[in-house]
């Protein structure tokens, strides 16, 4: 069959034509490799890098913002804690002051009471002394009266003695 035997055969390798194909393809490949494709590659790469970079930057910024907001929260919490502490301290102080006051008042009252008691005691003592003096005087007067009424000397003496004994016993 002539399709397989002549120069343009179906299943044969045509050297001259193959040379043309090889030569031109190599030339075009070289041109593509050298001049045409590299700028496209670099442009695409540049764009991709930029997109990646901006994505990364955005992510970083997001992380930063999150960090800041977390910090803010922390500060808020800290402030709250401090405020609570201060409040607590104030309450404690107030309590302390109140207690102190109460104590002082109690002490004062006790002191007053003590003073009053001491005074009463003193008064009582002085009243007793006075009473005693008065009684003694009364006794001396009564004795004088008795003596004056001329009674038996012996008898009156005995009377006075017993009187005084009673008195002292009473005291």
């Amino acid at each position: 069959m002539h399709y397989f035997l002549n120069g343009n055969a179906l299943l044969s390798f045509d050297t001259g034509f193959g040379f043309w194909v090889f030569f031109t393809t190599i030339v075009f490949l070289w041109a593509m490799n050298k001049w045409l494709v590299p700028p496209i590659m670099s442009a695409l790469k540049e764009r991709e890098d930029r997109i990646r970079e901006s994505l990364e930057t955005a992510e970083k910024a997001l992380a930063e913002a999150e960090k800041i907001s977390r910090n803010n929260e922390k500060a808020l919490k800290d402030a709250e804690i401090t405020a609570q502490k201060i409040r607590k301290e104030a309450l404690e102080d107030a309590e302390k002051v109140r207690n102190e006051r109460i104590e002082k008042a109690t002490q004062d009252a006790e002191k007053l009471l003590e003073n009053a008691r001491l005074k009463i005691e003193q008064e009582k003592k002085s009243a007793l002394n006075e009473l005693r003096n008065h009684v003694a005087e009364l006794a001396v007067q009564s004795a004088t009266i008795i003596i004056k009424s001329e009674l038996d000397k012996e008898k009156s003496r005995h009377l006075v003695d017993s009187f005084i004994k009673d008195l002292s016993k009473k005291n």
Binding site: M1, H2, Y3, L5, N6, G7, N8, A9, L10, L11, S12, F13, D14, T15, G16, F17, G18, F19, W20, V21, F22, T24, T25, I26, F28, L29, A31, M32, N33, L36, V37, P38, P39, I40, M41, A43, L44, E46, R47
Partner: protein, 356 residues
């Protein structure tokens, strides 16, 4: 699946249709009574066919008998008296009758190859100019064409190059893969034009492209690659007697399969369409004009369906050629660590082995 159906159909119709045509052409070669020149649609010619069937004859230049010859076209070569048409259709020397030794003539397939390459370069150049201007570099790409270009380019870069090659080396091969892909895709798509021919349906073209892939693969092969070829690590010494020839053979079968695959796919597509349309004439001859023309409706519808399939196959085959080139190069430039775990090539190979 589609391939198998297509291949089965192609073989069937090829044998049904081509047999009678061949027999007919054998019976009376002088009259050349075959209704359609089936193989003429896919083989190379010394003329470039234009849209309305006009033929532009291309210059011939060849080396024969120690001398270079240049002619405006085949007919001027014949007119010069130094050459006559040979028995097989080519031209031979008038004096000795020997055929041409080294034929550097411009042929139709070569024109389509050049057109594809020039289109590829032109598109890349236009896109590159826009990128240089800053569109696509500083902003998103503008315009449908630039977007299509960038989609294709990024597809080749990410899905083909980056996928099967080491991460630090793939950038070097993107221009090669992109050129090969665009060139083959354009050549295949030219084959869809009714008056044109797919240059990839020529074994010389596909074989040369495969040779270029082979050269790129071997010239960039690492030490590990050659070690795997000649002294496969991790096997006993006696096994090398079997393994080394197999590995060396494997070096050459890869580009061979690459060439044959593309060639056979493109050839079968065109032949199938021509044959199915040729069935109109076969039916006319067998059953009369009425049945022939009526059945023509069916054949034309089938051809339309096949055309869509062919458009798909044109792109798929370009993709497959590029993908396999990338896989082979990736295998050759990979630094093996003898744990074939983390390379997708090794994974794909494992999958292939399991499926076989």
């Amino acid at each position: 699946m589609i391939y198998v159906v297509r291949r089965a159909l192609a073989t069937l119709f090829f044998l049904i249709v081509f047999g009678p045509v061949l027999l007919a052409s054998n019976a009376d070669t002088e009259q050349n009574s075959a209704p359609i020149d089936v193989m003429g649609k896919v083989t190379d010619h010394d003329y470039f066919e234009l849209i309305f069937g006009a033929k532009v004859y291309l210059p011939r230049m060849f080396y024969s008998g120690g001398e270079w010859y240049f002619f405006r076209d085949t007919y001027s070569a014949l007119d010069s008296g130094e050459f006559v048409r040979g028995e097989e259709g080519g031209i031979v020397r008038a004096d000795t009758g020997e055929s041409i030794a080294f034929d550097l003539s411009i042929t139709s397939h070569l024109i389509y190859l050049w057109l594809s390459l020039i289109l590829t370069v032109f598109i890349t150049f236009m896109a590159g100019r826009k990128y240089k201007k800053g569109i696509g570099r500083d902003s998103e790409p503008k315009g449908a064409l630039l977007n299509i270009f960038e989609t294709l380019f990024v597809f080749i870069r990410d899905q083909i190059a980056k996928e099967f090659m080491p991460k630090d080396k793939y950038e070097k091969f993107v221009p090669f893969l992109f050129t090969i892909f665009m060139c083959i895709a354009f050549m295949n798509l030219f084959g869809l034009l009714p008056w044109a021919a797919a240059a990839t349906a020529n074994l010389t073209v596909t074989a040369t492209l495969a040779i270029i892939t082979f050269l790129v693969t071997q010239l960039n092969g690492t030490k590990d690659h050659w070690k795997h070829v000649f002294v496969f690590p991790g096997v006993p010494k006696w096994a090398l007697i079997i393994l080394t020839p197999v590995e060396i053979l494997g070096l050459f079968t890869k580009p061979f399969a690459l060439a044959i695959r593309l060639f056979a796919n493109m050839l079968s597509g065109k032949i199938m369409i021509v044959c199915i349309l040729g069935l109109i004439f076969v039916f006319t001859e067998l059953f009369g004009a009425a049945i022939g023309v009526t059945s023509g409706v069916f054949w034309v519808l089938l051809t339309v369906a096949l055309y869509f399939l062919k458009a798909l196959v044109a792109l798929i085959q370009a993709y497959v050629f590029t993908l396999l080139s990338s896989v082979f190069i990736g295998m050759a430039i990979e630094e093996h660590n003898h744990d074939h775990e983390d390379s997708s090539v090794a994974n794909a190979k494992d999958v292939a082995l399991q499926n076989h």
